[in-house]
């Protein structure tokens, strides 16, 4: 029941930050969806905007942290040229090489689209604030970018989980 330092980092990268990301995305999307004139009262608007700012900012920060820890801390252990590294183990057999050549190759790149889009959403939310309720175009734009940020992170997260199952970083 002991985890190595590398396993701790893989856990932080995939599970802790990934879980926070899902939570922040769900909150942010629900608040953005409900931010319409007929669904928002003046009284509740300020609280909604505060929750929206916290949710979207948390999602962006978590996405950046996930990508930075993944690329700069966990990934070097994965791609180490030593025969025991996950990449070497996957490439050693034709039956598992696809996990690196397709899954990891896509995951390591597409993940970086997510924080860029999430940051744009944060900018929209913070620059318009409560005025977002009257900016239907901006609200829909923010929702679209938020969903795309989630989709790119979801692809990376799912592939990461499957790769870890096939060849974990230890």
């Amino acid at each position: 029941m002991r985890l190595t330092g590398r396993e701790w980092w893989a856990l932080i990268h995939g599970m802790v930050l990934g879980g926070l990301f899902l939570l922040a995305f769900a909150g942010g999307l629900a608040e953005l969806y409900g931010l319409r004139p007929r669904m928002a009262t003046e009284q509740g608007l300020q609280a909604r905007i505060r929750r929206l700012k916290i949710g979207t900012a948390a999602m962006a920060v978590v996405t950046w942290l996930t990508d930075i820890t993944g690329t700069w801390i966990v990934y070097p252990w994965y791609r180490n040229p030593a025969p025991g590294s996950p990449r070497s183990r996957l490439l050693a057999s034709e039956s598992t090489a696809g996990w690196h050549e397709f899954a990891m190759e896509w995951k390591e790149h597409i993940a970086w689209i997510s924080p860029i889009l999430a940051t744009a959403v944060v900018f929209i939310v913070f620059s318009l604030g409560a005025d977002l309720v009257h900016h239907e175009r901006a609200r829909r734009t923010a929702m679209t970018l938020l969903v795309l940020a989630f989709a790119s992170a979801a692809v990376a997260g799912l592939l990461g989980a499957l790769i870890t199952k096939a060849a974990p970083v230890t």
Partner: protein
């Protein structure tokens, strides 16, 4: 790209210009497209791949992702300065950004970029 006021806006509110929002959306698209382009270029050219290897431990991914972030921030700064006071429509910016994001996703898709290897 002239904006019309959104329906439902309160009369006493001065409309906030959508230029800065359109700039942020377009820049996000540019950053995504840059990531796709750099990923494909790194596969196509050993020279580019070597140039993008800013860290031996991380490999070319270090340069691809950092350069894409730099392109995104530079594009955002330039677009923001040009569009901050203008009446631009966010929907048009989103349409352009979606095309750029699509190109970014395509460029990072292994089945596509490995054709250039």
């Amino acid at each position: 790209m002239t904006a019309k006021p959104d329906s439902g806006r309160r009369i006493h509110d001065a409309p906030k210009p959508e230029g800065p929002i359109a700039a942020a959306v377009l820049a996000a698209g540019a950053g995504s497209a840059a990531l796709g382009l750099l990923t494909t270029l790194a596969e196509a050219s050993a020279t580019v791949r070597e140039w993008l290897t800013w860290s031996d431990a991380v490999g070319p991914l270090s340069g691809k992702t950092t350069a894409a972030v730099v392109v995104w921030l530079a594009a955002w700064l330039v677009l923001h300065l040009r569009m901050r006071t203008g009446a631009y429509e966010t929907r048009r910016a989103l349409a352009v950004a979606l095309v750029l994001i699509g190109l970014g996703v395509l460029g990072t898709f292994p089945v596509f970029f490995q054709r250039f290897g």
